[in-house]
């Protein structure tokens, strides 16, 4: 199977460890992973902030870059939801790029979907001896309907103690440019989410989106809580061998 990694611009620029973790995890599971270097960004920030023209340009670029792969895997529920749920609404049927969008978008998977639905693996052979809580980000929960896929994977990680997050389905307050356009409400939501995380007593907060983790993690860090954030891919990539040299990053 020819699998393309869609890293996403946020991961590419700020969280390269997540990309490395996806590569190592998928190879461990026998996939041939390619990284089409012409990829950049799915266009979500532009579309959701009201700059549709720029967003559509990026969407067309995405479909050109990822044409021809059997599967496109993204370590981001939000960017995968953008491509799968929003792309088809961006371009009218019959107009330029519509056919390419219809062809590529069904092959785009968020990481946990790809593992469970395509590879049919729910135990990836990971080892991570830490107390972890999982935040289901809005777009993975209500956009992609990931359901319990991520937590099923986490439950099968050896050594990992998974503690449920109170009010897990509530938004953390990131919301892309919402975080700077409405900073007061965003921060208030982030504070409540951080408190829920602290209530679990977990040492690691895990999610399928680094953008939300960046927001909650930035709040936790500002409060000097000592809770660290990790992307789902990084925990799933951890093995007994890798843990001796620190975690996946």
């Amino acid at each position: 199977m020819r699998v393309a990694l869609f890293i996403t611009c946020v991961n590419d620029t700020l969280f390269p460890g997540t990309g490395k973790a996806v590569v190592s995890l998928l190879r461990r599971l026998g996939c041939e992973v390619d990284f089409p270097t012409a990829q950049t960004c799915c266009g979500q920030m532009h579309v959701n902030t009201g700059y549709r023209q720029e967003g559509v340009r990026l969407a067309r670029r995405f479909t050109e870059v990822f044409a021809g792969y059997d599967a496109v895997v993204a370590p981001s529920g939000s960017c995968a939801a953008m491509v799968r749920e929003q792309y088809p609404k961006l371009v009218r049927p019959g107009s330029r790029g519509a056919a390419a969008i219809a062809e590529v978008t069904p092959k785009v998977y968020e990481l946990s979907e790809f593992l469970l639905d395509v590879l049919k693996v729910d135990d990836v052979g990971a080892y991570f001896p830490h107390r972890v809580t999982y935040h289901p980000t809005c777009h993975s929960l209500r956009g992609l309907h990931l359901g319990d896929r991520p937590t099923r994977l986490l439950q099968n990680v050896r050594g990992l103690e998974l503690v449920p997050l109170p009010a897990a389905d509530e938004c953390c307050g990131f919301g892309g440019t919402f975080s700077v356009k409405n900073p007061a409400v965003s921060a208030a939501m982030g504070a409540d989410k951080a408190r829920s995380v602290l209530d679990t007593g977990a040492e690691v907060l895990c999610a399928a989106d680094n953008s939300c983790l960046m927001h909650i993690g930035g709040t936790l860090s500002r409060q000097r809580t000592g809770v660290r954030i990790m992307h789902l891919a990084e925990i799933l990539a951890s093995t007994e061998a890798s843990s001796q040299g620190g975690d996946a990053q």
């Binding site: 990829q39 609404k89 356009k181 930035g218």
Partner: protein, 463 residues
């Protein structure tokens, strides 16, 4: 008398920034919204066919909108046949003039009112007051707002921002007569409202209402309520004037079998609300007038994406579940329609020329909780994003987004930008200047890595 929202200064982020620091408001809203969320979830989960009802509700409303002209004419005929009178109002002024004229024709100078979003939207109470007619709100929450000279902050429970102690103080201060030993027990407060309004109900000659639904096929109007103030207004006065938005139609009587399940469970979280009144034309000898209100609705209808907002049945489930509404409160939206539905309805009804209205499509983190609970499946995030594309953007933001788009549309440019960031990673300040301080005021920045993923890939995989 509560003033109208029209022309309210400021913008949503500024209004919300004040509200999030108001501990009383935050506490009241958290408590109330979490209570109702739980109740709604229980009674919705009880129905095995909720999603089928939701799909039917959505389709019935879409069909209504598709053939609204036909259903409006049908409604007019049915009401007229049943002895009622139908009036048409293009906008708020026209509707207010019609109602004022109808009240004046009765010779009365007082009207009792059932809670109605449409009459709040057009500022009817203020228009009547200008002509010397006093409108008395009879819904408990509306009464609290009216007595407290306050703004409504919720579609269903306009005084949701007030707790029992504050309500007691408002009653002691403004309500006459008022029991001297009034406690803050909800039961005692409700009893005080009963005593306060009893005489007024029994002697009122004219009532003004809205309606939750109008049935085109039969000409029937439907009002759902809890307290019995609605029944008092709809039943006892000799003249009844109902002001109803044109989108409130349902094609057939049978359609109520869907909406009488969707609405109570979504709004108050009950299997059924205590009282629903349904009447057709001049019932039991009343003089009945129906005022059909456009006031911007046909503009909304013309928008292919935005028209789904007209499916709204004003249940307020989206407000109760919205994390932004819960923290910002209803007043921040500067409209009688607050919360997620307000953020898509207000800018479409009023346009986006004011700073406040232009900020409303951004009053959402696009978390999608509103869409999930909406009983008529209005994709609120989709409409918000669509409105964001239509609003006027500030020049500085536009320039920034253009540059970002230019960089992101070329992998070489993106790579160069990433390397530039990595080179200066150690000197990026913890607190950023200008608009970026909106992030660093409350959150630390993530560390910028030594190299981007793509550079790592080039180094390791291309070798």
């Amino acid at each position: 008398m509560s003033a109208t929202f029209i022309g309210m200064p400021g913008n949503f982020p500024q209004n919300a920034a004040k509200a999030v620091q108001n501990s009383q408001l935050r506490y009241n809203l958290r408590k109330a919204t979490h209570t109702i969320r739980g109740k709604r979830a229980n009674v919705v989960n009880e129905l095995p066919d909720w999603q089928e009802l939701r799909a039917a509700g959505k389709a019935i409303k879409d069909d209504t909108l598709r053939h609204l002209d036909r259903y409006l004419v049908q409604m007019e005929e049915a009401v007229t046949r049943a002895g009622g009178h139908v009036h048409w109002a293009r906008d708020a002024d026209e509707a207010n003039r019609i109602v004022t004229r109808l009240v004046q024709a009765t010779g009365e100078s007082e009207v009792v009112k059932v809670k109605s979003m449409a009459t709040q939207e057009i500022g009817l109470n203020e228009a009547l007051a200008a002509q010397g007619i006093t409108a008395y709100e009879t819904d408990l929450a509306e009464l609290i707002v009216q007595l407290g000279d306050d703004f409504p902050s919720h579609i269903l429970v306009p005084a949701i921002h007030r707790n029992r102690a504050e309500i007691r103080e408002i009653f002691l201060d403004k309500m006459r007569p008022v029991p001297a030993d009034l406690t803050d027990e909800p039961r005692a407060l409700a009893e005080a409202a009963r005593l306060h309004l009893r005489e007024r109900f029994l002697k009122s000659k004219v009532a003004v209402s809205g309606a939750n639904f109008m049935i085109a096929e039969t000409g029937t109007l439907v009002v759902l309520e809890s307290e019995g103030n609605g029944r008092m207004c709809l039943t006892l006065p000799e003249t009844l004037i109902s002001v109803v938005g044109i989108e409130k139609l349902l094609p057939s009587w049978r359609d109520l079998e869907v909406f009488m399940q969707l609405l109570p469970r979504s709004s108050t979280g009950e299997r059924m609300n205590p009282y629903t009144s349904m009447w057709t034309g001049s019932t039991e000898g009343q003089d009945f007038h129906l005022v059909l209100l456009d006031n911007g609705r046909t503009n909304v209808l013309a928008d292919e994406v935005g028209r789904q907002a007209l499916r709204c049945i004003r249940c307020s489930a989206c407000l109760n579940v919205c994390p932004v509404y819960e923290r910002a409160g209803g007043h921040a939206y500067g409209s009688v329609y607050p919360g997620p539905i307000g953020a898509i309805l207000t800018p479409q009804l009023r346009g986006m020329s004011s700073e406040l209205d232009a900020s409303l499509p951004y009053a959402s983190s696009l978390c999608g909780a509103c869409y999930e609970v909406c009983p008529v499946a209005i994709d609120i995030p989709e409409v918000l994003v669509d409105l964001r594309a239509k609003v006027h953007h500030a020049p500085a933001e536009r320039a920034g987004m253009r540059v970002a788009g230019w960089i992101l549309n070329d992998e070489v440019r993106l790579s160069k930008a990433q390397r530039l960031a990595s080179r200066f990673r150690k000197v990026v300040p913890k607190r950023l200047p200008g608009p970026l301080s909106a992030w660093t005021d409350t959150r630390d920045l993530p560390e910028i890595p030594e190299e981007s993923f793509r550079d790592w890939w080039e180094r390791n995989e291309r070798a």
